[in-house]
Subunit: 596 residues, 2 copies
């Protein structure tokens, strides 16, 4: 197995010690499942990720999708990887057994996905998009729609996309112009252009199911007038098989810095007036439906960014151990042998910053997945509500703070490789380019910061903050014995966070949203730093009391030492951000337009 | 003219108000020159940069150098650009009139180069390497070597390279193995392989002059046994024209993330035992000679990184003004028109972080160039020594802190463009990839940090720190009236820096270099932040008292507002780094090897 993939010992540690995976098997939904089942699926994921995803990581970057005779041509390894993924049942792993799924916890599924993300983030995007589209249909579609679409999407015969953005709209979904006109048969005729549709057109599978946002004639302006449609590439015959083409045209491909294996398209719907769409759920509720999916997609983006950080960390760790380079400062004898890079303190700094982000993201994303399971399947209403609140609050932090940090981590992976890291001969170069997307897509990071400060921090009278605060308190209490300094520091940082939140919310009431939300990114900077510290204290504490050894003693030390690093070097940055926010004494956090 | 290039008003402001360019004309070296001469050369640079460098920026990335029948093939626009550069006299602009140069101040030459760096950093690398090689020969070569090589290098007939690193040596020049064996005719036979040689082989010009480090047989190990050689691609005939091939072989090309227009080579010297080299200066002094060049090259790297930040800033500023996207938070009417991106506070944050780095680097690099002129041409010995000390101290900061910050700035330029910034349709994508090299080459940034803390901070009993401290004091005094808060903050930050330096130097005496230098990067983080604050207070103060208007009133406001931004959001990070350094109470700043 390649060292680049996520460490299986770490996955096991996270599942047992951080997310209490066994606890999930008490839910009726997962009755009868046990840890051995989960281990088997994880091992399968790791094997397929290595053999069918990692194998073409470089190739599908080098040979990016091209248009040939109007068709999208991809390296054949992509289809082979996607097929293996579907054949092993991963696309339906979380679905009901009666839908052909394995009915596994989302937490386990996410842990399995970590391998695929670290192996080849671009190829796994195809099944991920299909899963997201299927989840939307499952949640909001009619029984008839579920019957016709879900099966083939789970099996990998049909693929899915999200056809949301438009060239003039970007992040502003409010400005979507694609129209849907009711037809006599109860269907809709779709007309409009979509931008940035990943997987919008290709020749894998037998059909592509576009989940498309459009405006029904007469609908109100803005996001309240958007409806969700199923728009298949090929219309379905009565027996459910793909039939005639549905007037969906590929207008062009976007050529990206990275993530190249995922074909990204400009799509045109209804050029000939013959594009058929099926309304999903109720009219004008499209964005609300989409947000449900998008929130889970955002967890996926944070996780994916973190798994690229993980891959870069593992690649650069191997390099740092093998590459002999230079001597420690103070070693005066030039005839002495060179030492491995890892002997240099600054190389270890570059490694530990990566480890903090990589393993921290894994822990946090799996906890989020656990909350997703809890929100949906917990027998206790209170637990469901509590999980929902935590997800509302932490999702933008995971998506945004951790994807920024993950890019920084990949920067460090290149730096460790020196000039070699800048060449296309080492994978860290591509990993970095791939990861540059994550702060942009699924809601640019600044939008996440505005969401955090403008909506989540004050939602339901601070209920989300309180729910997450209980997690912090639990960790502080548990760690007070073994890690008294860190426990006190985290407790203090959380108090500061609550205070600064109150200050900022008052400011919002006084100054209005535009001025008050201007420093939202600084709030996110601080908030994310506290979350990082929390997730590391939780890991360090768990490492002290592991129920079984996951690896050698260095594994435990690594968790504890990384926790120290985070508290020494990272958490203080969060406190500084809070201080800067509290020092804002006017309404102009950043220069006005005239300054440029 | 394209908006992407450095703002000519800013260049004029820097020359007049920050570096006092007129003051240089009092040096005998520059007697008779005036501002009009400088404006003319700057305008020429801007025109050539636009017409002959910017024109193929994307193309020479897309069509990177390839090997065809053993020869390196480059897009022809590169040779055309380089020729225009040489024809206009830029390669010899700073050289003596009698060598065919224009005898201009290095400061003016650097200001002219800013346009080329912003336009096409990869193409301008060819003349820059040639200039650096020529400078080495001018400084250390024999009269005969100067006579034979300098003329054709200035005119662009011969190109130059730095053949330093080797595959196993990387940053550790101490481990260079290439050998030089004295021949009967007094020349040397060179044998060995070199790695990362930019411009090592191509078909431009009539010859390539490799400045090569090798070890003469019997020389001591380490850097004290390295000698500098001129190794031409074609041996010179008696009349100075290129003659027979000199057994210099291209072993391969490196394929990079960016900077692709600059062909980067693996070279082999003396495979057939027939590679001739000429010793430059004295035996075993090669590294000392090289360092002289390398220090100026490091200023160039910092400047180049900053000019890429400048280019990204200007590109994203245009985009932020033109692109209509979303509405301010609080605007509830979805039927209201979208607003330009620049209306969003976070976009202005992303702009001002770029402006701070871009214009800050320009100011700092031009000051460094001014000190280079002063060190060489000032009539006052004290001024020469003072300039030398400041250069010793600030060069690693400019190279390292500012190249890290510049990469961050380019990250922001992409973020402003959203998904479009991630495509290869907008130049910010390439600018970012190009800039990723700067923290790596010419001494990786960690090595600069070790140089700063381990050598420069304590050199000559703290003389370099004191010399630079005088600059800080002068700025503080001048700014105290108009900017009392910032002046006090800078004064306090400098005091903190001096204190923490003393602490760290004591630590070094106590713990030894290896442990004491471990947190060198944190010292650099703090040091660079103070330098940024200083350069911006200097600019803000100058903006208040401009001797003439360089642009409209917004230009002045922009300088002052950016200064406020730096003091509010950036300088406190430096103070935090100092606090963290002073809090280190053991000898392990970062986790040990066993933590990984």
């Amino acid at each position: 197995m390649n060292d680049r993939l996520v460490d299986p010992a770490d996955i096991a540690f996270q599942l047992d010690e951080i997310v209490d995976i066994d606890g999930l098997t008490h839910f009726a939904r997962f009755a009868g499942q046990d840890r051995a089942d989960y281990d088997a699926i994880l091992e399968t994921a790791r094997a397929i990720a290595t053999e069918k995803f990692l194998n073409h990581y470089a190739k599908s970057d080098r040979e990016e999708p091209v248009l040939k005779d109007g068709a999208v041509v991809l390296p054949p390894e992509i289809a082979a990887g996607v097929k293996a993924f579907h054949d092993a049942g991963f696309a339906g792993a979380h679905h009901d057994a009666e839908l052909g799924g394995l009915q596994l916890p989302w937490t386990v599924v996410q842990a399995a996905f970590a391998y695929f993300q670290a192996a080849n983030i671009a190829t796994v995007a195809y099944p991920f998009l299909t899963i997201a589209a299927a989840n939307l249909i499952e949640a909001h579609g009619s029984d008839d729609q579920k019957r016709r679409y879900l099966g083939p999407m789970i099996s990998g015969e049909f693929f899915g996309t999200m056809a949301l953005s438009e060239p003039h709209a970007g992040s502003s979904l409010s400005d979507i112009r694609t129209t849907a006109t009711l037809q006599e048969d109860g269907g809709y005729s779709i007309k409009g252009g979509k931008m940035w549709t990943s997987g919008g057109e290709h020749e894998m599978g037998r059909n592509i199911v576009h989940m498309l946002l459009a405006r029904i004639e007469g609908a109100p302006p803005g996001v309240k007038g958007l409806s969700l449609f199923i728009v298949p590439r090929f219309r379905l015959n009565d027996d459910g098989t793909p039939g005639e083409a549905n007037d969906v045209t590929l207008a062009g491909l976007n050529h990206k810095m990275g993530y190249r294996g995922t074909v990204n398209t400009v799509m045109s719907f209804g050029d000939r007036g013959a594009c058929f769409g099926e309304l999903v759920g109720e009219k004008n509720k499209g964005l609300a439906y989409m947000f449900h999916m998008m929130n889970e997609a955002r967890i996926g983006v944070g996780m994916g960014a973190g798994m690229l950080a993980y891959a870069g960390f593992r690649e650069s760790l191997v390099y740092a151990r093998e590459r002999q380079q230079g001597r420690p400062p103070g070693e005066k004898d030039p005839a002495s042998p060179q030492v491995p890079l890892i002997r240099h303190a600054d190389i270890r700094r570059l490694l530990v910053t990566q480890k903090a982000v990589a393993e921290g993201t894994l822990a946090l994303a799996l906890l989020c997945a656990r909350w997703v399971d809890e929100r949906r399947w917990s027998p206790h209403e209170e637990a469901r509500a509590d999980a929902d609140l935590k997800l509302e609050l932490i999702t933008p932090v995971l998506k945004s703070w951790f994807s920024d940090a993950a890019l920084r981590a990949n920067e460090a992976a290149i730096q460790i490789h020196g000039g070699y890291g800048y060449t296309r001969d080492f994978p860290v170069e591509q990993i970095y380019r791939d990861n540059r997307l994550n702060p942009i897509h699924e809601g640019a990071n600044a939008i996440q910061a505005i969401d955090l400060l403008g909506r989540k921090a004050g939602m339901k009278g601070g209920a989300a903050l309180s729910a997450f605060g209980d997690e912090i308190s639990a960790t502080v209490s548990a760690a007070r014995g073994a890690f008294p300094d860190e426990a006190a520091a985290l407790e203090g940082a959380w108090r500061r966070l609550r205070d600064v939140t109150a200050t900022l919310l008052q400011r919002q009431a006084k100054l209005g949203a535009e001025h008050a939300l201007a420093p939202a990114q600084a709030y996110m900077d601080g908030f994310g730093g506290v979350v990082l510290a929390w997730i590391w204290l939780k890991q360090a504490q768990a490492a002290r009391h592991m129920s079984r050894p996951y690896a050698d003693e260095d594994f435990r030390n690594g968790k504890i030492q990384t926790c120290s690093y985070v508290f020494r070097w990272e958490l203080p940055k969060a406190l500084l951000a809070f201080e800067q926010l509290e020092a804002l004494n006017d309404d102009q956090a950043y220069p006005p337009e005239e300054a440029f």
